[in-house]
């Protein structure tokens, strides 16, 4: 696998029935490529958390996944309210998800901490009133 494989997905706001499609699709492709199951699980979890955050909090956005020989890069870019305090958002248990989202089983405040735990690199850029971009990398040892 010398060439990079680039996958792109659109994520719609509030569409919980399709949430997880990008993560599932990436997971399937990585499995077919024979990537180590632990790496696949890390990517799937991180991507799903990011995807769900976009569905819950943003007005929609795009996911780009770049698979190369030594790493998997995921760039999640959304239009939305942005994150006021990134440090606070990273704290386990902190959530701004409304009650209707919590009743679906989300809003435990574990999304970003889960991503942090399952990735080798995480960068968050956010502008209030404009949107948020997550850049995550999972290395392939």
């Amino acid at each position: 696998m010398n060439d990079k494989i680039v996958l792109k997905y659109d994520v719609d706001s509030d569409d919980f029935t399709r949430a997880g499609e990008a993560s599932s699709s990436v997971k399937r492709k990585l499995k077919l490529m024979g990537v180590d199951p632990d790496i696949v699980r890390k990517v799937a979890i991180s991507l799903y958390e990011g995807e769900i955050n976009m569905v819950i909090h943003s007005y929609g956005g795009t996911i780009e996944v770049i698979i190369s020989q030594d790493k998997i890069e995921m760039i999640l870019e959304d239009r939305g309210p942005g994150i006021k305090d990134i440090e606070l958002a990273m704290r386990a248990g902190y959530s701004t998800a409304p009650d209707n989202i919590r009743s679906l089983g989300f809003g435990a405040g574990m999304g970003l901490p889960n991503i942090k735990k399952n990735t080798d690199d995480l960068k968050i850029e956010s502008k209030v009133g404009v949107g948020t971009t997550l850049r995550m990398i999972v290395n392939i040892p």
């Binding site: 919980f16 029935t17 949430a19 997880g20 993560s23 599932s24 997971k27 199951p37 699980r41 799937a44 979890i45 799903y48 958390e49 769900i52 679906l104 089983g105 989300f106 435990a108 405040g109 574990m110 999304g111 901490p113 889960n114 735990k117 399952n118």
Partner: protein, 112 residues
């Protein structure tokens, strides 16, 4: 224990969807309803005992590699979730028992 054998032993549970991978190994029962916590901490191959019966729980089960979902406390799949379970071949059972009791039964079967 293989999933197919476990299901056969759980006669007190109703099978909502048999699933497509009876040969996979079930490792341990795991109980949690919050999806992000389940996603982050559920061991691969778990029999996931939960009351969350929506489409998002099915996505979490698939992504976190759960062996099956056991819906407790009388929870039941709604129609979109049932369609998804069939489409993805996810094994789903249900029971009126509380979460702990359901997990204990599974624990005992796995450790017999």
């Amino acid at each position: 224990m293989r999933l197919g054998s476990l299901i056969k032993e759980l006669s007190e549970f109703e099978i909502l969807n048999e699933g497509s991978d009876p040969d996979r190994e079930v490792t341990v029962p795991y109980c949690c309803d919050l999806l992000s916590i389940s996603m982050g901490r559920m061991p691969s191959g778990a029999a996931w005992v939960t009351v969350m019966a929506n489409i998002n729980a099915l996505a979490v089960a698939t992504l976190a590699e759960a062996a099956c979902i056991i819906l407790a406390e009388g929870s039941n799949l709604d129609e979109p979730a049932m369609i998804k379970a069939k489409e993805k071949g996810i094994t789903v059972l249900r029971t009126n028992l509380p979460v702990f009791d359901a997990a204990l039964i599974i624990y005992n079967k796995l450790n017999d």
